[in-house]
Symmetry: D3
Subunit: 127 residues, 6 copies
């Protein structure tokens, strides 16, 4: 049992992802509680716990990788919220996605920007 | 003629990429001088010239996207040097590539880390 | 005319994919009957007809490749049903998708697992 | 200011993409007018303005790249309309997507063909 | 036995790929003669045999897909030779790879252009 | 400290990968001992330790995912050896890579088959 690692991951996960994370884990639990645990343990107990990059820069890394993959729309949307939660600004997120056009092409950038548009609208509608 | 944009791009390109960039452009010129110009103009005259993210964070974005693509080994190696030139530390580069394992898998992360190892060795050998 | 090959492919296709396959081919026929024929002939007349791997292991190969591509959600969902039809268990499918997180990253694994969740729910609803 | 380049891009963009392009740019403007400008300037002011390949062949190139990426469904659909507008026939588009199965696999080809089916239906419904 | 299809594929393969193809098939035969046969039959007996696109345009499609994939360097190099053999000009190949930068990003375009440079040099050295 | 998990991972890693794994970890240690530890812990301490699929089938999954990614040549070669070590036959590996042509295209299949050819030759040369 790796209880320490799981507890550390859960604490990081809750702080970083807030309620978005909570719902997501409930959803994932219905198909594989084991995989939910790995998601808490490896990315959040191990990686996000490391001191080498602060959370804001980690979110830049994550959003860049996800946008470059092109197919990860649900994860792009979730991490836009997580990044905002971590203090990354809307302008920085847009800036980052514009830059992605150079490395992964205009379609990958467009898809990420239109995901950002949807997420921002959703967040503004909640106010 | 977009001379201003090209001149601005060339200035940024030289400052950011140093001698790595110069050799690369000479190489690319032999197959397509037009494409070399686009590379100066769009990524460096337009994108890297924008104020929304500083050069260090732009390099984090670039390295994350390149590592996630998996196939861009020559560009990963070139941008490791560019990132170091811009003040990103070796530790931050390693940190970023470790994080890529979560989003693009262990093979993408391993390939980027082994590229970093080669580049660091090459740079240490020059001293 | 390669009638033998087409007939062999059709027989395999029907046995392996059941009614999922039938609807799919009707759908595809509306845009390109030629391509439907190739789909019957090459994957099912040639590849799935080969003795080197049994159908269950072929479905593991297919689901792994599809999940690793990341963008093939409709095909992942269809082949989950086909795999179940071939005797692969739900537990094995989940297991396989968990493993994909190592090689293609957590987003690819998450997307495949959430597709599995949807398919399993749909199948349970039918009972 | 690169007004000439933007004006040239806008002229090409309007001619090539018609009303599809207009709506798309309005949509993109809501999240990033700067990126809309880059889209007009680089692909349409620079690339599509070059004499080396005519518009019909440029659309073959674009549709092939988009279909091979696998994740670019909205762009595949938009460029099917653009290609038809440029004089590429429905038969040529289907032909091209069938060929993609060889290089990017059957799922990429199937997704592109089913996108073509949807677009053709939509266009026929308008008549 | 689909002898007609194989013979038709072999004829097309020889005409289109010339001696590049011959060496390649010998190489592939050492690991899987069955797969060599499929390569002759499906892409060359079925797809390239179809009348809907001429060989020159089929090579544009192939090169675009291969360049967009990013990882297919050996196939890009082989098909540059095949395309030249089919009457596509060096300028058209360069033009096509420049355009790929828009859809798959600058690294994919750069890698394809540098492959073209190598192939052109090799061909010039032979003269 | 997750000593149990690391020890379990190391035991699995040694059994499954043999001397290939040992050299690889030494290589990776020179750039990031932390990442080496994660590689032991997550894929081998967590995933390969799970009972849901036996090692032979896990290697089928891994080789399929790696071949479908297209860019993971060093990992394909390493896992061919690991798969042979686990009792997968050469014929099954070839069979699997042939099947990949359907889902990820002929170039991905060709690259994997030529990697297999190289590895088999290397292994035969050692005898």
């Amino acid at each position: 049992m790796n209880d320490d690692r799981y507890q550390r991951g859960l604490k990081n996960f809750k702080e970083i992802t807030g309620e978005i994370g909570e719902k997501f884990i409930q959803n994932l639990n219905e198909i594989s509680p084991d995989f939910s645990r790995y998601l808490i343990e490896y990315p959040f107990g191990d990686i996000y716990d490391r001191p080498g990059l602060d959370v804001k820069r980690r979110e830049l890394v994550t959003l860049s990788a996800l946008a470059a993959l092109g197919y990860a729309e649900p994860e792009v949307k979730a991490h836009i919220k997580v990044a905002l939660n971590a203090g990354v600004t809307r302008e920085e997120i847009i800036e980052l996605f514009i830059q992605i056009s150079v490395y992964a092409g205009f379609p990958a950038a467009i898809n990420a920007l239109l995901s950002a548009k949807e997420v921002f609208k959703e967040l503004d509608g909640k106010k």
